[in-house]
């Protein structure tokens, strides 16, 4: 079968040509590259990709993550013998004289209008994640998207992104993406599907679509919502249900409970002095979390001039980064949260703790402290509840916020973002019932994977074959695709037109950055096909819809082009934010909490039983990013686990039951069982096991398949998020978990320096106290001066929330390779910036503090690495940057040994994936490192140099804020600030003049250019909690 016939795609082709040519000329003697690339030459791979997508992907995968795997390590016997003799002799000579291979130059036929070769272009679009759209700016080079940044004008982004948004770029170039229509497991074409679909729909027409069923995730797109309405009008008897594995059913039901109507809650953390999060991970998982993190960060600024600190209370059933930021954190069983909410409420009503439920003294005092604080901050506090808590807790939160007068201040309500408003919790079981009963004749699944992700008790997979005609549109040939008759490849959002809503409802147009790489289409097109309009392109659908909207406003059609270009350019449609929804509490919640609505959270009958909590995975979300190498290898914020999920238990529980890390246990829960490795996690509540969703994939890409275990196998529709009655059974099996940072404490070293706000006010320079050496010890060496530029970085530990956005951003900007689980296990991950996580305190069950510390190259002025490099491949430049010159490096690894911060990364194998597809994605401004070469953070020197060139042309200096590093740009809380130290007024210079600015391991007198602002927290003094 062939991919090319159905979709015309000249652009990528020519690009692949050039790239293949460019690929031919890389550093290093051809002799050796020849060997490594044996049977993996781009030409062969390209051919393979076209002819047998699967095989192509296998090869690509073998190279992408296989570097550490034995299968990729094997060398064919022939290859081996070829070198056996020659190798030793030629090893030396081959370096001496090598002729440059011939490169080709492939010009355009017609030059694209606005692009100039060698210059990047930026396009505004958006991606859907976790229940809202995130506006982004995509960098495009020669027609290829190569980097994703936040869109400053977009309310959910404000210029920042999160790890998943950054990594979604990699999915575009994923060789495992579904590339062709598949009919009953046989490759087919869109034309065949069109015929089949038209016939089927005509049949449905007769009964008004009685047998017609749709299944989709939450629909954020207004256009898609309209299409849906139209379709349902066309087929009145058809039914549309929606299921999101990590959806907002509880929020919805909670709102219903409290207001009698579904609302979308928008928080304004920048206005809140006191924040209460009840299992509400608003920094990483709540819709709009990027914006929320930004607002939260804005209220975490500690400066000599002005201190602006909010206070965060968190009660949570499994550790999250939100909990890590909390001044007062309470680790409780998930069921207790409701009790806490109730207790809090009663306490606030009639002062003094209510005796309503028996809480530990810690909990009691926590509630007491919090209640007092809330009283003091009426209207300037906010109560946040996460999607994992049952409706009643949400309702209670609404009433709490109402009671505290936060509504309208720190909390506003709008109509729901998503179009599908029927009770989502019920809709899926209903659908399955129809499928069982044979009522459902036609099932159309849009961009979802129910066979994998639907609750285990529904047994979706078994009932799917009972449906006569099933259609599945998805980016991957996943578990569902395997069981449907028609699997249709879906376009990546960077290939598609569309629109979506921000967390406050603001609409963003999605525009394609590149023609679809494969024969893929979008849900918009599929719906219009089903509606009988076969000829309408993705672009037409969107443009026409928006033309109507525009005309509806009464504007003249002539200006539409301008309007269209404006909204595409801005990335937001001006003032489309949803209006404030006048939500009034129902009487039941106006007063004291109704006992009736109490969710039955029975205390465990037998003492052995534990609570089970399902959590969204911080990297691969609900499993839809399972095939994304960047996210798989991204250490999870707290566990620092990669390539796996695990059953997290508290140290105490582990001690009591004699479990150790990596030990495989059987989780028995409500008659279902799954095997999972144990991971001991400090701060995990006593007797609670939390497992993250999204792993244990069986289909849908070579990267994801086989990683971790499937938590959905234990998930039931009646208790989607937590429940009790879990039992752990020992097995004699063990697995090795690839954890990048296994040591929890700081060994009493002055690495992260923290204090409370009062300490800071008495002694702003507290960071220098417990340090025996001066900040800048004397040196025997003459000073080097940096008059023009002295680039430097300042990292504010008070602001850093450990969300990993910087790590992925760096990976994307600097072409950092993915190495695979085996290599991570060996300690060979390649991230240029890592986020160290330390716990403070003796009791690992209740750490006094959890600290995040981003560590990248410190750019030491007295760099120990430079001194020991024999060929002089790492040395200083005039801007005081610690240069790492890959093409001069011979790989002694001495520099890494001598780096006290251990921020240097080495290519132990040929990690960089040289397949043409990945070549498309590379940042052409950054060398792709070959095997045997050391690499490290460069302060994104490609950006610096380009900015300097621009400035030099204009005969000026680069001014402050003109450029920043990828990590700083992605950071939602602006914890990372980059700038020029030689400019005394630059922001970074100001930050470095702060009293609590310190450099890591300063006693070594390495004089780092990267310094840290000590962490300052704002607890209620003399509080027990």
């Amino acid at each position: 079968m062939s991919v090319t016939d159905s979709a015309p795609q000249p652009e990528p082709d020519t690009d692949l040509e050039t790239l293949r040519a460019r690929l031919a000329a890389t550093q290093g003697p051809a002799f050796w590259r020849g060997l490594e690339d044996l049977a993996q030459t781009p030409a062969f791979q390209e051919a393979a990709r076209r002819e047998f997508p699967r095989l192509g992907s296998v090869l690509a995968e073998a190279k992408q993550i296989g570097a550490g795997k034995t299968k990729a390590q094997e060398v064919s016997r022939r290859a081996f013998l070829t070198v056996m003799g020659a190798s030793l002799a030629l090893a030396g000579l081959s370096g001496c004289a090598t002729q440059q291979p011939q490169e080709k130059i492939v010009p355009y036929i017609d030059p694209p209008n606005d692009s100039e070769p060698g210059k990047p272009l930026f396009y505004a679009t958006a991606l859907n994640l976790g229940g809202c759209g995130l506006g982004i700016l995509v960098t495009s080079r020669e027609g290829r998207p190569i980097k994703i940044e936040g869109n400053p004008t977009h309310p959910s982004s404000l210029g920042a992104t999160d790890a998943i948004a950054q990594a979604s770029l990699l999915s575009l170039y994923d060789p495992d993406r579904s590339q062709a229509v598949i009919h009953r497991g046989v490759p087919s074409t869109w034309d065949d599907f069109l015929n089949a679909a038209t016939a089927q729909m005509q049949a449905e027409q007769a009964t008004g679509g009685a047998g017609l069923r749709f299944l989709s995730g939450g629909i954020l797109s207004p256009t898609l919502a309209e299409q849906r309405q139209a379709l349902l009008a066309q087929y009145p008897n058809a039914r549309w249900c929606s299921y999101e594995p990590i959806g907002r059913e509880n929020m919805q039901a909670g709102a219903q409970m409290a207001f009698g109507a579904d609302v979308n809650t928008v928080y304004h953390f920048e206005k809140a002095d006191v924040i209460v999060a009840l299992d509400g991970d608003f920094l990483l998982t709540l819709p709009g979390h990027v914006r929320y993190a930004a607002d939260f960060g804005r209220r975490r600024s500690v400066r000599k001039a002005k201190v602006d600190l909010n206070r965060l209370y968190v009660a949570e059933s499994s550790p999250t980064i939100t909990g890590a930021m909390a001044e007062h954190r309470l680790a409780v069983r998930p069921g207790e949260i409701e009790e806490i909410a109730r207790a809090l409420m009663t306490t606030l009503r009639n002062g003094g703790v209510s005796g309503s439920f028996s809480a530990t003294s810690a909990t009691q005092s926590w509630i007491a402290t919090l209640a007092g604080d809330l009283q003091a901050h009426r209207g300037r506090s906010v109560v946040v509840v996460g999607e994992t808590q049952p409706p009643i807790v949400h309702a209670l939160a609404h009433s709490l916020n109402g009671m505290l007068g936060n509504v309208g201040q720190t909390v506003t309500y709008t109509p729901p973002l998503e179009a599908v408003v029927e009770g989502q919790a019920q809709s899926l079981p209903q659908l399955v019932a129809d499928m069982q009963s044979g009522q459902a004749q036609t099932l159309v699944m849009l961009d979802c994977n129910p066979v994998y992700a639907s609750p285990a008790d529904l047994n979706f997979a078994a009932s799917l074959p009972k449906v006569a005609f099933t259609v599945h549109l998805s980016e991957y040939e996943d578990e569902t695709a395997n069981l449907t008759q028609w699997h249709l490849p879906q376009s990546h959002f960077l290939e598609a037109w569309g629109d979506t809503r921000a967390h406050d409802g603001t609409i963003t147009l999605q525009q394609p950055l590149i023609a679809p790489l494969y024969a893929t289409h979008t849900p918009y097109e599929l719906l219009s096909i089903l509606a009988g309009k076969l000829d309408r392109s993705n672009h037409d659908i969107l443009r026409d819809r928006w033309k109507q909207v525009y005309q509806a406003t009464g504007a003249s059609v002539d200006d539409f082009d301008l309007f269209w270009r404006t909204i595409l350019n801005d990335g937001v449609v001006a003032n489309t934010a949803l209006p404030v929804f006048p939500a009034t509490l129902l009487p039941a919640f106006a007063g004291s909490p109704p006992e009736a609505a109490r969710a039955q959270t029975s205390q465990p009958s037998d003492p052995q039983a534990l609570d089970l909590v399902f959590t969204p995975d911080p990297t691969i979300w609900d499993g839809r990013f399972a095939n994304n190498g960047w996210l798989q290898e991204l250490p999870k914020p707290l566990t620092k686990l990669t390539w796996d999920n695990a059953a997290c238990i508290s140290p105490r529980t582990a001690q009591d039951r004699g479990f150790t890390d990596g030990e495989v246990v059987i989780l028995r829960y409500r008659g279902r069982r799954v095997e999972a490795p144990i991971l001991i996690l400090p701060g995990q509540p006593e007797g609670v096991v939390s497992i993250s969703l999204g792993y244990g994939r069986t289909r849908g890409g070579n990267v994801g398949v086989g990683a971790g275990f499937n938590a959905y196998a234990l998930r039931t529709s009646d208790a989607p998020w937590f429940g009790t009655g879990l039992r752990l059974e020992k097995t004699d099996k063990r697995v090795s978990l690839a954890i990048t940072h296994s040591h929890h404490t700081m060994e009493g070293r002055d690495i992260v320096r923290a204090a409370t706000i009062t300490t800071f006010q008495h002694n702003p320079g507290f960071v220098h106290d417990h340090q025996n050496d001066p900040e800048r010890p004397e040196s025997l060496y003459p000073e080097y001066h940096y008059p023009e530029y002295a680039w430097a970085l300042s990292i504010d530990l008070t602001k850093c929330i450990g969300c990993n956005a910087c790590v992925t951003a760096c990976q994307s900007e600097n072409n950092i390779a993915v190495v695979g689980k085996e290599e991570v296990l060996r300690g060979r991950e390649m991230h240029w910036i890592r986020i160290d996580r330390y716990y403070e305190g003796k009791n690992m069950d209740k750490p006094n503090g959890t600290y995040f510390m981003p560590v990248a190259c410190m750019m030491c002025e007295h760099a120990p690495c430079e001194l020991v490099c024999p060929p002089g491949a790492t040395l200083h430049n005039r801007d005081g940057l610690n240069q790492m010159v890959y093409n001069r490096c011979i790989g002694t690894r001495y520099c890494s040994n001598n780096c006290p911060y251990k921020v240097r990364r080495f290519n132990f194998f040929q990690y960089a994936d040289l397949s043409p597809l990945k070549q498309l994605m590379r940042n052409p401004e950054v060398t792709v490192r070959s095997r045997g070469v050391m690499e490290k953070c460069s302060y994104c020197v490609q950006r610096i140099e380009n900015a300097k060139i621009t400035a030099d042309k204009e005969k000026r200096l680069v001014h402050d804020g003109e450029i920043t590093t990828a990590c700083a740009q992605a950071c939602p809380t602006n914890a990372i600030v980059f700038g020029n130290l030689a400019d005394k007024n630059s922001l970074v210079s100001q930050l470095k003049r702060e009293p609590h600015d310190y450099s890591l391991l300063s006693e070594l007198n390495t004089r780092p250019r990267t310094t840290y602002l000590g962490k300052v927290s704002n607890p209620v003094e003399n509080s027990g909690a």
Partner: protein, 257 residues
Amino acid sequence: MRPWVEMQGEIFYREDGNLFYWEPYIRNTNALYPLFKQVGCMPQFFRSYANTGMRIGMLGVFAGPVVLGFALMGFNRSPYITQVGLPKGQPVQFSHEHHAGALGIDCRFCHTSVETSSYANIPPMKTCMTCHSQIWVNSVMLAPVRESYASRVPLQWNRVHDLPDFAYFNHSIHVNKGFGCSTCHGRVDKMPLVYREQPLFMSWCLNCHRNPEKYVRPESQIFTMGWRPPANQATLGPQLVKQNQIRKLDDCYVCHR
């Protein structure tokens, strides 16, 4: 004088605690010795010419590696490696001599982005056709161009000036700071087929990066092909360096990232 064998016997019969231990090792070391004695001389294993041979050999042993080393260094600088002065065949025999020289078309007509971007830009097929849809419309030589424009399949030119991928060169900054095309590309207007004028060695780059004043030109001269440093370059150069704010950049990160 006693014959040799006797003498050996003498040692044999000596009864000496130490000595007998050595007996087994004492053998007739030179059985032919008596024979030689009759002849009065023993033929030498090496003939006299062996001395000369050996000396030559020694020379080879010591001088050889040195010579080889220099040979390699020479080879690395030879046109075979640097491809200096070797015109490259192209899918279409495009003559810079004709276009840039005879017709005097400005470099920037085709290499549009040389002043603004890192790439000077290889002109799209459309640029060729702007003229060649009017003139030489039937020329056989231009058939590939027309063909490619019609079939939308671009020509693939052979790259002449090819830096390694780890070296990042930016045309615009050089042109803006007053360094002319011909300084690196040579008299393109005299090249029917373009070839490399310079080896593109790092040392060659550094030579100019360290002494820009020797090569910098007045802004007006940047695109003039035949430009030679004027007599007063020694004074003019430093002035231009000052006025264009040219820094002497030999930091690695300037070119390698």
